[in-house]
Symmetry: C2
Subunit: 268 residues, 2 copies
């Protein structure tokens, strides 16, 4: 089984991704997990709601999610993005079913209402963060859909163990899904050729990384890429063997990534 993670950047070539899925995954079970960050930013902007980015004491950046931000999140992820991606895939002949982590208790998360954030040289406690980390998934629901010929198109939010809707990190959730579904191969598509030595220089691609040395690459992974590395670490712990990071903007993003055109990370 293949788990495909596609980022939420505005330049992702969704036509190409959908075409790749339609053409190349006919005889293989696969699940797609997608983001919607650009759509979210667009809606927040149109509504005049400021997206508040915070940085953890260990340097991981994320979005602080109050009620207004969570509402925008729902409008963007299960609302606009998941519906559009599911419809696009269906037009290509893929029997897609859109699901969020809420549906059927698909993604169950431990709430992290209070978080420590770094502001300049200070560390501050922020409360009321409607966020959580996915700890378990309803693999039965995904298997039920796969065994009956459906292609699950999954996005956040998750449900906390208390049953509240929470924003959650997609890369981590995808890794937890991979373990529960016994996935050996993951692909992650985003707006860069792969892991870069210099994020400003697209020619500085790191073509391969050993999973054992993931920590050493933290120095190259800035901002959101840090989460992708943490997610990769979680995926390897869960039994994933190979992760392909690839450029979601090119003509055939999935095919190119699986051909090793981006960064290939092997566990061994």
């Amino acid at each position: 089984m293949l788990l495909i993670k596609a980022g939420g950047g505005k330049d992702l070539n969704w036509e190409g991704i959908a075409q790749d899925i339609a053409s190349h995954l006919r005889n293989q079970q696969a699940v797609l997990v997608h983001g919607a960050n650009a759509v979210r930013a667009e809606i927040a902007d149109a509504l005049g709601i400021q997206v508040r980015s915070v940085v953890s004491p260990t340097g991981v950046s994320s979005v602080f999610t109050d009620q207004a931000a969570l509402d925008v999140f729902l409008m963007a992820y299960p609302g606009l993005a998941n519906s559009r991606i599911t419809a696009l895939l269906r037009r290509k002949g893929v029997n897609a079913v859109g699901l969020s982590g809420v549906d059927g208790g698909l993604w169950r998360a431990k709430a992290k209402t209070d978080i420590l954030v770094r502001e300049g040289t200070k560390t501050k406690l922020l409360r009321g963060n409607l966020t959580g980390r996915v700890e378990e998934i309803n693999a039965d629901l995904i298997r039920l859909l796969l065994e009956n010929g459906y292609f699950p198109v999954v996005c956040p939010p998750a449900l906390s163990h208390e049953g509240e809707i929470v924003n959650t990190d997609n890369d981590w959730a995808a890794a937890v899904m991979a373990e529960a579904l016994n996935v050996k191969t993951m692909v992650s598509l985003f707006e860069a050729p792969g892991l870069l030595k210099d994020p400003e220089d697209e020619s500085s691609l790191i073509p391969s990384v050993s999973g054992e040395r993931l920590e050493d690459y933290r120095v190259y992974a800035q901002g959101r890429m840090t989460k992708k590395l943490l997610g990769a670490g979680r995926a390897f712990k869960g039994g994933v063997e190979t992760i392909y990071w690839g450029d979601g903007r090119v003509k055939s993003p999935l095919v190119a990534a699986l051909a090793g055109k981006g960064t290939v990370i092997r566990r061994a």
Copy 2:
């Protein structure tokens, strides 16, 4: 099997509806179809997008759906409303799965891009209406979920036969679902005690209606209620035997409606 339709008004008692479903439908298969009109209006208002109401030559009012309106529709229906209702039901112990008509090709509609509308004494042709009428549903997907212990929570949009996302009339779609799922009993909850002789007078409840005389009641059904009557007619044609219309604002909306506290419409 019971099909529950709940309107999208802001005063619907969702806590009560969810509690009724949790307490009273443990040993019965059921499907919920819901609206999100109030949420849609709120988002449109916040975004400064005007919802354009139109009236057909036969006097049926609906919303004209251009691309901006469809985006708002997606934010409201599968985005905010479906996620929140699904999460609420899960907190009550119902194994809810949210789906829109897009998912798995659940609702397939004939597109009605060009529509005739009445403006004063004139009839005008409007083009570019992203709307359709549901003609068939993927009953297999609903049955698959029901047989595996899930409670489907369904909302528009639908997919046109060409694969485009289209706004659609919920009452009609629910009736088509009822036929495909061999449903004999439907409940429809909204912001009124039932069908009223005088829409301004909540004490003018019509307690029962014969399905054969539905057309005679068109005179009492104004605005959105017209669609409910048309939906009821479609439901009876599809084999439904009893439709309970009830007040979605009361303490136990579903229980009260099934006890005949609103308007009971029988086919015979």
